[in-house]
Symmetry: C2
Subunit: 346 residues, 2 copies
């Protein structure tokens, strides 16, 4: 594959904005061509995409509702945009050169011409699994780190509950909380995931919320003394149940509400009065404002990975053509661990 050659470029395109539950057919697989060379003077880079990250927030980009998007919505007729890992094939930008490995926002396609490469990060530690840069060493990892340490104000011995606990973020929050000496319980949507939480990630306990007709009773069983910290990934009924069981001066870090993303009208949460009687702080955050903490996070996490003190489970599918199914699978909980799509091995 010579530089400048014109090659075919498979893409996953958003057909149109989506209402309700997204379907695979809302995305179209198409093939275009691309020249493997950046226009001179364009300050662009041309990358070969290796790993794509599937993240719950991407549902919000399939709809355009003022104030409800984590990040700008996708453009119908254009490729889905997401986080990923890529290799630079050609560069007209001083910061990047051929052969560099990068992570950042890329298109769901085989090759992307990136006209504003300032948003890309050069991967310096290449002695860890490269796909980790879509999750453990990417936005999910930083989200777990910031959401837990900055927003939960955790203390040793506290009772921590995490929903969607085997997901890209949850599995890390649980391990961080264990390292800190907390009592940690997670909820997930299958017995396989519950097993992972208990036997792989070292949670003190875990339960399958689909087998619990009464979430309040389930939480009372696992937290007879109540919850100090709730790391919120799901919203809706689980949040109401947590509010019934939160302790005085509890903290709720609101990272996501995946149970609500496909509803026309989000479910009502009825127990907010407990915010007063239990003096609870509930705070939402977007990771975009904390990207400057990546170096600090890397200093923290890379030694832990190398010492085997942090485990990270990825659910990997091969081939761009399987990316739409992988993304949709997040909303039924099909994935076990961080959902990654391999577009090409390096």
């Amino acid at each position: 594959m010579a530089k400048g050659e014109e090659v075919s470029n498979k893409q996953v395109i958003l057909r149109d904005y989506v209402t309700g539950f997204p379907k695979e057919t809302d995305m179209i697989l198409t093939t275009k061509t691309i020249k493997l060379k950046v226009p001179e003077g364009s300050k662009s880079v041309l990358v070969k995409n290796l790993y794509l990250s599937c993240d719950p927030y991407m549902r919000s980009c399939m709809t355009k509702i003022e104030g409800r998007n984590y990040v700008p919505p996708f453009t119908p007729g254009s490729p889905i945009i997401g986080m990923g890992v890529a290799k630079v094939l050609d560069s007209d930008h001083l910061n990047f050169k051929e052969g560099d490995l990068v992570s950042g926002f890329i298109g769901w396609e085989e090759y992307s011409l990136i006209t504003m490469p300032e948003g890309l990060s050069k991967i310096k530690n290449t002695d860890v699994q490269l796909s980790y840069y879509t999750g453990l060493l990417g936005i999910a990892g930083l989200t777990a780190y910031v959401g837990f340490y900055e927003f939960c104000s955790p203390k040793k011995g506290e009772n921590v509950f995490i929903s969607a606990a085997s997901g890209a973020v949850g599995q890390l929050v649980g391990q961080f909380a264990k390292i800190m000496g907390c009592y940690v319980v997670g909820s997930a949507g299958s017995n396989e995931k519950v097993d992972l939480l208990k036997n792989k990630f070292g949670f003190d306990a875990a339960f399958n919320y689909k087998e619990e007709p009464d979430l309040d009773a389930a939480l009372k069983r696992y937290f007879p003394e109540g919850i100090d910290i709730y790391f919120e990934n799901v919203g809706g009924k689980m949040l109401d149940a947590v509010l019934e069981n939160i302790r005085d001066r509890g903290r709720i870090s609101v990272c996501g509400m995946i149970s609500q993303y496909n509803l026309e009208k989000p479910e009502g949460v009825h127990n907010l009065f407990y915010l007063i009687t239990k003096q609870v702080r509930m705070e939402g955050f977007l990771i975009g404002g904390y990207l400057h903490l990546f170096p600090k996070y890397f200093d923290f996490i890379i030694p832990l990975i190398k010492e085997g003190k942090i485990i990270y489970i990825e659910d990997t599918v091969e081939g761009l053509e399987n990316a739409p199914g992988a993304l949709i699978g997040l909303y039924t909980g099909r994935n076990v661990g961080k959902q990654v799509v391999v577009v090409a091995h390096e």
Copy 2:
């Protein structure tokens, strides 16, 4: 009235725990007798009650639901307990002597024997209106002070919205926000109150929520650029509308939810997802943990009162027999300003 004399003691008794909207008939006026002398060695004080405070939180004391009470529930068959101002008639406690004026929790009766007087505060500044110790110089004032300065993190020029804005707490929060140089809008339930907010308390604008079929549209009209700070006194639909209009990094100080207190099941709040996309902090508090700030608050507020820079409106009814109606009136918004009951003039 000689010390030691046995006199009649009118009382307002809670008949039984209440479901739904409270009625005057849930309280009974009765007459007992009381000896105007404390038992020797009892470390008690005997007080003559002067002013009673009617506060929204008192509804929660009429029901016994684990975790939903601001303070312990009332005891059926015993007098209602609330904040008030009283005069010491007899004391067996070192800290108090006959003639002292005190504020704190007292019974809804003419005379109270207080067996643990450590909770009472001696009134030192007697050159301000004495009834102010039920509100402006009592729990309501401290609540406004702590709720605004500690929980709203206000900055000059920010956009502040206050619900139940002419109430005991709201009227002060609005004036504090104006002193700080904020743009301040309040909502209330009558045109008379709206007029007070604009013309007496100096709010920039105010509206009657009962005349706004679409609260979201109303907030957009008054806050075309959105709300930075919401001082929450009502809950329910208003909270949902605020979440639609809150700005990035907005703060919601959750002081009360009066619209919800009489509902069997609280209304659902549907817009919590904005906590994430707008990175909002929402925090509830109980003033009981901040009573040590009273001296700091007094240093702040008393000069402002004396300079005429703070205005405080009370809605006063005369006679213990009118106390049940005054309390119930809070939940229909009948009161204009802080609701006070005069049991006796000094």
